[in-house]
Structures are given as C-alpha cells and as structure tokens.
C-alpha cells in the first residue's frame, strides 16, 4: 500500500521537474538545433505519457490488489491484449525513429555545400587546435615529424609546402554566422569528441580517420566546447570555445591573423 503511494509521488515529482525545465538545454543557435528540440519534445511527450501511465498503473495495482482476503483471479493472460500492446509499442517506437531520420540525414547523409568554409579540427591530449586555409584557399601539407606544440605548430604543417605558409591556426574556433562550415576532424593520439551544446551536435574524433562534419550557426555568441570522449587524465580540462561572429568581424579576424604570418 505504502509502496503504491510512494510510486505515485515519485512519478508526480519526476514529471514536475521534467515539465519545469529547471536544468535544461541552452537555446539552440541553428536550424538543426530547432529541429532537434522538436524531435526531443515529441519523444519526451510519447515516453512521458508511457512513463506516467505505467507508473500510475503500477501504483494502482499495488493499492487495489493488496491481499484483503478472498481469492485471486485465475487467468493465464489474454492474447488479444498481448497483440494489441505489442503492435502499439512497435508502431510508436519505430515511428519515433523514422521521424528523427531527417535530422540524422541532414547531419550525416547530406554533403556540405561546395562553398562551405573548411576548418581542420585537431584534438590532442588535452588541447584543441583549429586550422584555416590562408588567402590561397588551400591547406598546406602536414608531416608528423614537424609537430611542435611549443612553437605553435601542433598540426605539423610542412615548412617546405608553400600552400601551408599562410595557414591560420587558432586555439579556439571562430566561424561566421549564417555560413555553412565544414569541419575536418582529426586526432593525433587518442579518441576525442567535438561537442557544442548550442548546436546540438557531437562527433567523435578518431586517430587514423578524417571525419567531415558540417553545420551552420546563426546566432552570434561564444559557446563552450567540452571534449566528450574520455581521453586521459586531462579530459575534464580539454576546453575550448566556438565563437560565432558576424561575417564582417570574422573576415577582419582572419585578416589580422594572416597579417601576423
């Protein structure tokens, strides 16, 4: 009896906190982010109703069918109901996946537009580096023997390649608002993960692979980037920021960087 009441109270308290959004997503800064939130909310409603009904039903049977004398009902079940709830859950669950397919497809199946700004992302224990092609629009060759973190060459940009002379590197990532961005994710030691909460995007960075990953951010601001795949003892310090700038400011920043070369 007591347990039934406790299950009810817990259910109500949990639903209250989910409805109150006390600890919640930061606002999205992209179209993808808005689509993501819509899919999340749809899933939250479907699962929330199932959660609520299942727990309330559990509390109800605990209270209603406690031993008060008399005899229990002898029954081995009901095939009709079995078929009904099996197909209902199957439909709901598969339906949710299919509804989310477009979001996944837009992130992973669609190619980045040809004019997307290309930025290389390098993860290493326990820092980030970002590389932009200079005015020539080309990345220079890299060579792991020329890696020099103290000298500012985490990528190991090959000195002998003229295309690399004007490459811009940065410890944080800066992008123009409203422009498609194509990241090329690389790691040189262990697995890391690039995660921006406001973009609702996350991707592992795997040594030995170059993983393309595209997005577009629309809202100007500075957003924290935490490494989100365990990478060693400094995992919790592997922080950088994504700065979304107006296009003019971004061009200005790029020119300043190029001028320092």
């Amino acid at each position: 009896m007591l347990l039934g009441v406790i299950v009810w109270i817990l259910t109500v308290v949990i639903c209250y906190f989910f409805l109150g959004h006390y600890w919640w997503f930061p606002p999205p800064i992209s179209e993808h982010g808005q689509a993501y939130d819509a899919q999340f909310n749809a899933t939250l409603w479907v699962t929330g109703v199932i959660f609520f009904l299942a727990q309330i039903a559990l509390g109800y049977v605990i209270i209603r069918f406690r031993d008060k004398g008399g005899t229990a009902k002898y029954s081995h079940g009901n095939n009709m109901m079995e078929a009904l709830w099996t197909s209902a859950t199957a439909l709901l669950f598969i339906g949710l996946v299919l509804a989310g397919t477009r979001i996944w497809a837009a992130v992973h199946f669609a190619e980045a537009p040809a004019d997307a700004l290309r930025i290389e992302v390098l993860g290493k224990q326990f820092a980030w580096s970002f590389r932009y092609p200079g005015p020539d629009g080309k990345f220079g060759r890299t060579d792991i023997k020329q890696i020099n973190d103290q000298g500012g060459n985490s990528f190991g940009i090959d000195e002998k390649d003229p295309a690399g002379k004007d490459d811009i590197t940065s410890a944080s990532i800066k992008v123009p608002a409203g422009k498609p961005i194509l990241l090329i994710l690389k790691s040189r030691d262990v697995i890391h993960n690039f995660f921006v909460r406001e973009l609702r995007l996350k991707q592992d960075i795997v040594p030995g692979m170059e993983i393309p990953f595209h997005f577009q951010a629309d809202k100007i601001g500075v957003y924290e980037v935490p490494c989100s795949e365990l990478c060693g003892l400094g995992h919790h310090q592997m922080r950088t920021t994504l700065e979304v700038m107006s296009e003019a400011n971004f061009e200005k920043w790029k020119q300043e960087q190029a001028a320092q070369k």
Binding site: E82, I103, D204, H235
Partner: protein
Amino acid sequence: MSSPVVHAHGAPQGFIRRYIFSLDHKVIGIQYYFLALFSVFLGMSLSVLMRFHMVYPDAKVSLFEKLWPTGAAGGIMTPELYLSLMTMHGTIMVFFVLTTAPQSGFGNYFLPIQIGAEDMAFPVLNMLSFWTTLLALVVMVSAFFVQGGAPLSGWTAYPPLSAVGPLSGPGEGMGQTLWVISIAIFCGASLMGAINFIATTIDLRARGMSMMRLPLTVWSWFVTAILGLLGFAVLLAAGVLLLLDRMAGTSFFLPAGLVVNDQILNHKGGSPLLWQHLFWFFGHPEVYIAILPGMGLASQLLATFSRKPIFGYRAMVYAILGIGFLGFFVWGHHMFMSGMNPYSAMAFSILTMSIGVPSAIKTFNWIGTLWGGRIRFTTAMLFALGFVSLFVSGGISGIFLGQPALDLYFHDTYFVVGHFHMIMGVAAIFGMFGGTFYWFPKMFGRMMNETLGKIHFYLTFLGVYAIFTPMHFLGIAGNPRRYADFTNFEFMNNLMPVHKFMTHAAIFTAVVQLIFVFNLFWSMRKGAKAPVNPWDSTTLEWTVSSPPPFDNFAGKHPVVNHGAYEYSVPGAAKDYIMQSDPA
C-alpha cells in the same frame, strides 16, 4: 531427453572438498554470491569516493593519501586517480557483480533444483569456473597496487588510450595490462559457466519438465548462458588482440601516424573502431546478461506473491528469446558518434527500437500478472515491484538514446549514465535483493528479518531514485560523463547544486546498505528456522528441505505434472499447485 540422468559424484568428504573446492552446485552458487557481495561493496565504495571528488575536488582527506600515496599525494585526489576509480567501479560492477550474482550465484544454486536435477551437468567445470572467476577478481584488484595504479581508460577501454602503454597516462602501464588479463580470465570462466548452464538445462530436466513448464527464472538463465557463450568468446578474442597491441607491437587497433605525448609511434594499419565493434558485440548482450535473470526473477516473485499465474507465460518466453536474439544486432547504438558509417546507424536504431518491444511486453505482462491478484507484501515482493518501477524508468530513457538523431547531443552525457545505472545497475540489483530475500530461507535454512528488510527496501528505493533521476537533467543540460572535475566550464559550474544533491543521496544510500549486510549475517545465525516452503511457492526447490540435501532430492527423482505458476486454481485444495503435485 527429459529422463533423469544419473551422473552423481559422491558425497563430499572433509571441509576442503565440501566448502572450498566443492563440486556441489549449491556451495558454488553461495561462493559466487559472496564473491559478488564483496565486489558490490568494493564497487560501491569506489563510487562514493568518485561522487565525493566530483563535488569537493580540492578537499584534503588524509585517508585518501593512506590508500593512494601517489594518486592522492597530500590527501587531494588527482584526476587520474578519479579516472582509475571510475574504471574499476565500472569493471567490477559489470563483471564481478552484475554478471556474477544473478547468473552464476543464484543460477548455479537454483537452476539444477528448479529443473529437478541432482547437480550441474559438469560439476568439475563448475568448480573451475568459480575459481577462475576468483582469480580474475584478484588480478583485477591487484591493478590498484602496481606502478601507476589502476587503468584510467574506463570499463570500455577504448584504444588508442588503452593500447599505447604509460605514454597515454598513468595506469596505462602495468595497471591496464592486468586489467586486460583479468578480463580474459573472466571470459574463460564465463564460457565454462555458460556451457554448463546450457547443457544442464537441455539434458537434465526431470521427467515432465517440458520447456514450456520451466520457471521463467530457468528460461532467463538459459538464454543468458547462450548470450554469455557467444559474447564472452568475442570479448576474449578482443582482449587477446589488445594485449598483443600492448605487448607485441601489433597494430590491430592502432593506426599509423600516432603522436602520443610528443612521441611518434611505429604502428600502422589498425583501426580504433575495430575494438569498439568487438567490445560492443559483447557489451550489448552483456547488458541483457545483467538484466535477464532479474526479469526472470521478477516474474517468479510477482506470480508467487500476487498468487496468480504469469500473465502470458508464452509471451514472456518469446520476449526473453526475442531480447536474447535481437541483443546481438544492436551493438552499433553505442557507436552512433564513433565515426562508423552513418547509414548503418539507421539499421542499428530500428533494431534497437525493436528490442524495446519485447521489453514493453514484459512490463505489460507484469502489471497484468498483478491485476486481480491478492498481493502479499513480503520484502522479496517489494523488491520485485521496485524492479518493475525502475525497469520502466530506466528503459524509457533508452527511447531517446536509441535514436541517432537525439544521440547527437546525449552521447557520453550524464543522460546515458542515468539510463544505464537505472536499468542495468539498480534494477538488476533490485532483482538480486529480491532473490536474496526469496531464496535465503532455502539457501541457509533460516528466514531473513522482514522488518529490517522493509526498512532497507524503502530507503534504498527512494535513495536510488534520488541518485539517478537528476542524472537525466544533467544530461539534458549537456554535462559530459567521465569528468573528474567540473570547475573548468561555466555551464557545468552552474549544475553543481544537482551534483551535490546526488552525492549526498549516494552517501545516504550507501550507508543504508549496511542494514542489508547486518540482516544477512544476523539472519544466517539467528533467523527463525525456515520451513520447506515458506512462501507457498510452486517450483521444485520448495519441495525439498531448507537447505536441500547434498543431492537435492534425497535420491528421489521428481516428476513434473504442472506448469510453473499454478496459483489460485479454481477447485484446488490450496491456492497453489506445486509443479510435482499429482496431475
């Protein structure tokens, strides 16, 4: 097939053959149980230390320095020590608790009796598998005491972090090597156990014990053993490959061009994703290895204490089989963000959602079983009801994580931590508590104290909800998991009050477990004498004395005439008909 097979070994002579190197499945079951009990307290203590460190990262505690002179020099826990506690917590809990107690502990003790057999099919193999498991535990725990300490790569041990030696961090030297060796030994032990369970269920059933009369506990142990046989074999292979990468210079999991800690490594041609595929091919079925026995037990307890047959017995059996089968095709949902082909994510996600269907069937049928019953609220039953509640709460968050689109945010956040702790952590442990209260009288011949049991249940039930529900909110706020310290990020600092609440709830819940330990050991010596069938249950273990004789049925061969859950049959003399009652 279902005729009784006489294979008996002689009654044991002397203390050592009887209690130490015993061939008796019942003694081996108890040995496993206590191994898991030791492990669960070790694992829980590690988690309390972790929770403490997360909210007080700079606290100086002299005890820490005594325990870990280098990892906590000056009494302040280092991030690498935090990560090694985390790795060991996960590993010990998954392998030596969740895999060991419900399957090897209770399964060993009760599978043979519930099917009317005198022992397991291979008693010597059974003894070997226990001692091998113990060896694995010793090797695992010894990783704490070697140079560099325990590994920090998590229980999933993703390479390259786990494969390049001490270059990638402390604990990645000898500690990680011992970890891999221990896991390989554990795999060997589990394979032996799995073969034994499968052979026993197929060959040693009493006359009349058809598959559709098996208690659902036996069904779940049987299917779990099949999962173990297929899963642990793959993990063993993966472990050997990882060991070769670490020690023999091979490159199964290591690509070319690695520069770790400023050192250029000479590997080429391997793939870090290969490990993830092999690991999760084991790792996902492992989730079901942990939870299926709990599901079987919940069914047994709900039927017994609501005095009703299982609602949809056949559907329950098909659901167990469905979960077992589909469990091998969903491993990719752990890898949506890994860089594997994004098209395969769609297939894995539809299969993952499909596995939610048999899980939902089970939940509905449990509530259907309770419906119209006359529920007796024993402590065992409370834990079974708690299991159902936790199973719903923990399962439902899987609907978010199974969608690759939503995993784009939730992967590796606390949402995942909340999800799997709720379902394969505490729901499974509630199954073990329920099993303990239900079977203790049979195992030790005495009853456990019900008042203490109920106090322990209610406090634990509230405690685990208080620990694990807030994790979902942390996940929604984007808090990554496996962080030793949250102070470097502004948004995580803002979540600190939630972390503090969870830490206090965790310390509270851990202390409450002492009630259980006291009850367990006190009842062994002082509990009321247990009758043959204290719960008016129907299955065969309740036909023999408590504890049962050495050969289980005192030389008799039980004959089974009834299904497993014939409660409240109209016209019957009592409100239950035992499986071996005359037809």
